[in-house]
Amino acid sequence: MVIVQVITGGLLLGAVYALFSSGLTLIWGMMNVVNFAHGDFVMIGMYVAFLIYTYLNGGPIEFVLASAVVLFVLGVWSYTGLVRHVMSGTLLSQMLATFGLALVLRYATFWIFSSNFRSLPEDLIGGTLNLGGILISMPKLVAGVVAIALTLGLHGLLTRTAIGSQLLAVSEDRNAAMLMGIRPDRMQALAWGLAGAGTGIAGALIATFYYISPSVGETLALVAFVVVALGGFGSVPGALIAGLLIGVIQELSAYLLGPVYKDVVVYALFVAVLWIRPQGLFGKF
């Protein structure tokens, strides 16, 4: 019975991982830009939720939407104001730029809101669901449903719509896309905006059951990177499955081997997967 609870918990946690990795899949996986500031985007989303709840009395729907809008703008700005100018440089210059951005975002938040930990009330999105003795945390369940919806939406957008094929064209070959009459910069900016919006939704939802602090992004970002790489770059469904997988593995190994070993197992498995499949689980080579 406990083991079922552990696996359930793992799936829920994995859903949360998938949720906050979805934005990274788009930027890193599709646009081939490493965004070191991803975790801090999540953090900003959490603070937007906190502010809307505390000062404007907004509920979950309001603050999730607000966070999506704010992060859309931040995403677009990050591209047009910063990343666009380093695209000509190497991979390293992108890392440099987004690392600087991450520090600025993290510590500007720190400056404004201080280093205090905050949290939202427990019961904003329901409490705990009891399914025949198996406890399911409602906020995480909602996060899971939204993660699946976001993944399907993103996948649909990329594979079924004109905008999607233009986005893909730009990520495949910028110059060729330009010759086809696509404006690569506009498409890239849109991708960053969409990724930002997804990340904002994730941050706002996570804020309902997690603590909020300026450095919370650090804790989350590394997981997101592993999720995206394990799923395979450029694969949106891959990130969802990888997220769930990592969640379950972490919970199982934490329960069976001890919490200090859960990340050991995850990283070891990750390296092993890359050895066998250098393109990740679902990536194209």
């Binding site: 930990f117 804790t219 001890g258 859960k262």
Partner: protein, 413 residues
Amino acid sequence: MRKLVVLGASLLALGLGWDASAQSTIKIGVLMPLTGNAASAGNSSKIAVELGAEIVNNAHPELAPLPLAATAGLPGLGGAKIELVIADHQGNPSVGQSQTLRLITQEQVIAITGSYHSSVTLTTSATAERYGIPFVNGESVAANLTERGFKTFFRVTPLASDFAKNYMDFMADLGKAGHPVKTLALVFENTEYGTSVADTVRTYAKERGLNLVSDIAYSANTTDVSSQVLQLKDKKPDAVIFISYTSDAILYVKTMKALDYLPPVMIADNAGFSDHSFITSSASLAQGLMNRSAWSIGKPGSVTYKVNEMFKAKTGRDLDDPSGRAMQGFLVLAEALNRAGSTKPDAILKALSETNLGPDQVMMGYKGVKFDAKGQNTLAATYLIQMSGNKYVAVWPEKSAEKPIEWPYKGWK
């Protein structure tokens, strides 16, 4: 680049010149983690130490039993005022060393207090030792800090062995009151702080014949703690002791609610559970939580109550234990400095080693302050406090209790 550095140097020198103009001030260095993961606790300690300097520098007759409170400045040094030079070590042992060097050689501080993390205190106090500068630590608990044979290092805070013994005595008392504790679980973060406290608790539990049913180490700043909670739920210990930093402390109480788990007795070992951020964000989920603390606000009108009011006026919240211990460390240093009547390191060290404060002369719940040959305060002690409403109140031992103990742990209910 040399130009840049020279520019920096002259700017720093400018700062120095400006300070030198105010003659009757004495500089004391304060090292705290003001950015990084422990920033919340570090900034709170910084404000508490600043309050300490305010109490010393201005006349506060209402706080009379505290040394130096009633008078303005340090009478032993002609009424000189203390100026704090605060530095951020970012939780990094090497940055801590660099900043210690800056404090000693650029700012010319005559003594140092800090640095929260035991790992940073280890390197910063080593640098201070090499320069012969007195270092008074108010809050780092790693046992090895006072085992290095240093001449300049003094520590005011109680150690793991003090509070591990407290927990055992407390649980024995609970047994006498009809709530026997036979099985114990230990959940601790696996850096130096958590492991060293857990080791000590384990030793004492064995001595008292408690059955340790669950012994869980975890990595701090983790994304999820549900497996630990499930583990506990499965083993059903009579009491659980948590040794955690703030982020994990918040996650534990949230997760315990989500997984509907309430141990009969939940004891927290200070740190994260004492962080004011934990109290403001999670008090409603942790009703009846026991915690170790040497700080108690006390009854209205008492010295501690007034100190708390002053802290509240600055920050809008109550003083917490780690910040209080940092402040006490500073006050002990100031008192010795005044007695030394000199800013020479040797005189200060001699005064420090002769420190002899009674229970009324300290704001924390220590039995006083008196250092042994290794520089450890032999009179340090702690209370146990319990979360009630939106704050902790002292409940154990009985003679310092403000309220009777509530049993069992209620959590969010």
